[in-house]
Symmetry: C2
Subunit: 338 residues, 2 copies
């Protein structure tokens, strides 16, 4: 089969690889229905994260189970499944505490931008749908695998409550789905920071009530003006840079909550600034597995359409163009069909 390998900055190749096999008795093999490119893939693509040689890419996936190891009890061949980017046994103390993405047996999925994928800890990691979903639902189900689950965690970790005023920093797919999640959780006012018209439009469609196009401290000032100088109740930091983190912290009220869900790159937090900022801070790898049953339900019942973040669809063989379009901000998120 051919799969996606990153060789170095902006050097994505779709090339012949060995097909994955069942290696552990707890594995499943998935025939990928749709996969996609993640905002986090752009860090190494842009050369901002070191590579250990040629690196297989992709961690968002859904599809049909082709085979399972002999210890797999819950997942069956022929089922349509969605899994998280982090494997989990769903039974360890961290899983039980609600943090499957920090499962003591966690592995991070790679190699999902391919036709066939090995998923370790299949019983704990994968969630089947009732029957095989129709094709039009695939983008939204795929979104649940990471970008929706991560946006949902951003809203959950920022303690979004009914009636709250919420800020979303970052207009990538995670930020946009943070808007959708905050709306689902009952936020009254959702301020999205974005200076790109198509993303502003989608943010509004997902529930944003206000758009702030200013960035950095000018953006913070605008938000303070909009909140009587007090700040927002909850801020979702969906970028992972020092600038975005400080925007979120500075725009949040004393006692409010800031979440961060993008792997921080070069972020250093000053203890005294945090202390006098008086915010709650929570983040990390999103515990997507915990949310999957609920998110799949919302999608299948037509309550949410997170698949709208895919504004470019390509055959998997054109994955390199999928990366380029996102890198150049011509696309919010690229869906790939093997």
């Amino acid at each position: 089969m051919r799969a996606t390998i990153l060789y170095g900055p902006r050097d994505i190749r779709f090339e012949e690889c060995d097909e994955p096999k069942i290696l552990e008795s707890t594995d499943a093999l998935i025939r990928i229905a749709v996969t996609c490119v993640c905002g986090s893939d752009l860090w190494p693509y842009r050369g901002l994260q070191p590579l250990d040689g040629p690196t297989p890419m992709g961690h968002e996936y859904c599809g049909v189970v082709e085979d399972v190891g002999r210890a797999v009890k819950l997942i069956k061949p022929g089922q349509f499944v969605i899994g998280s980017f982090a494997t989990s046994d769903n039974t360890c103390p961290n899983c039980e505490y609600g943090y499957p993405s920090s499962c003591v047996h966690r592995e991070f999925i790679t190699r999902a931008q391919a036709p066939l994928l090995r998923v370790p800890l299949a019983d704990g990691t994968l969630v089947p749908t009732p029957g095989i979903p129709s094709d039009d639902l695939l983008p939204s189900l795929l979104a649940a695998s990471d970008v929706l689950g991560t946006g949902w965690f951003a809203a959950d970790a920022a303690n979004v409550k009914p009636g709250a005023t919420v800020l979303v920093v970052g207009d990538g797919a995670v930020g946009l789905l943070g808007v959708l999640s905050a709306k689902q959780m009952g936020a009254e006012r959702i301020i999205a920071m974005s200076c790109h018209a198509p993303r502003q439009k989608l943010a509004r469609e997902f529930g944003a009530t206000d758009i702030v196009a200013e960035r950095g401290e000018a953006g913070v000032e605008r938000i303070m003006d909009m909140t009587r100088g007090i700040g927002v109740d909850s801020a979702l930091e969906c970028v992972g840079t020092q600038e975005s983190m400080m925007q979120a912290i500075h725009a949040t009220r004393r006692g409010g909550s800031v979440s961060y869900v993008g792997i921080p790159h070069g972020v250093e937090l000053d203890g005294q600034a945090l202390f006098f900022g008086h915010v709650h801070l929570h983040g990390g790898p999103a515990p997507v597995r915990k949310y999957l049953p609920k998110l799949i339900d919302l999608v299948l019942n037509g309550k949410i359409k997170p698949g709208k973040v895919f504004d470019l669809e390509l055959p998997l063989a054109q994955v390199a163009e999928g990366y380029r379009a996102m890198d150049e901000r011509r696309a919010i998120k690229t869906l790939l069909r093997p």
Copy 2:
């Protein structure tokens, strides 16, 4: 009157000053019954925090109201009152949100190591007791003014829940009262980090079930051993250094909570370490005013005896010796009587 002034590193003087007066119509004047030296006073005392010239000291106090400004409605002369180290109007959005220590009109109290103290925003800041309390209750009521309220916030901000496993980093008075607070909130296992026998003893008396004498990463390893490699549910960071903060974060389970209540000195938090640590982080100036009614109640009803942290009592005129004893760790906390 004579009052306490810090002139420079280890140069505390008790010297003639002007008596405070009512300056604003919302002020009260308090005749101090007892006051004390705070762990945070030791930062400038040790030269670790720059001074802007001679600095009046002290921010923990209780006593009898001597006079009030004409806009003060709730507090009356003759009442015995306890106040927080941070003034608050108790009506602004931050106060209403539960963060009076970030009141939009906040001032930090200084000059409390003196016989007479001006307290701004008296109605919002001070809480009267029913009648004049007996002398034996004064240490515990004084503790409520800061060190107990701060330990209570440490436990509250670290989400201590009934049945929880809790770590307290720091065996100063705040840490010890963090132990007491965690116990009151129903923690099942309370691990205190301390290598000083008298403080270990008091920690046990306040409810610690385990003592860890190792420090730094060796201490973290011990705690991981004690918690099946998972970490504690809640960690209370009651020191304010990089080392203590990292001890607390590293010893906390994924999804657990870390609070920090001492002003951080030289603390820088790495974004990725926080991200993969997966902890909740919350701290800042303790909203003592919010807790005061409850804490005063617990003291007056004999439920808690936080005043035990005072293991040295001196006349206010000997305040310099009070600082020295704490600096040299001969005393946990010095109570001063004008």
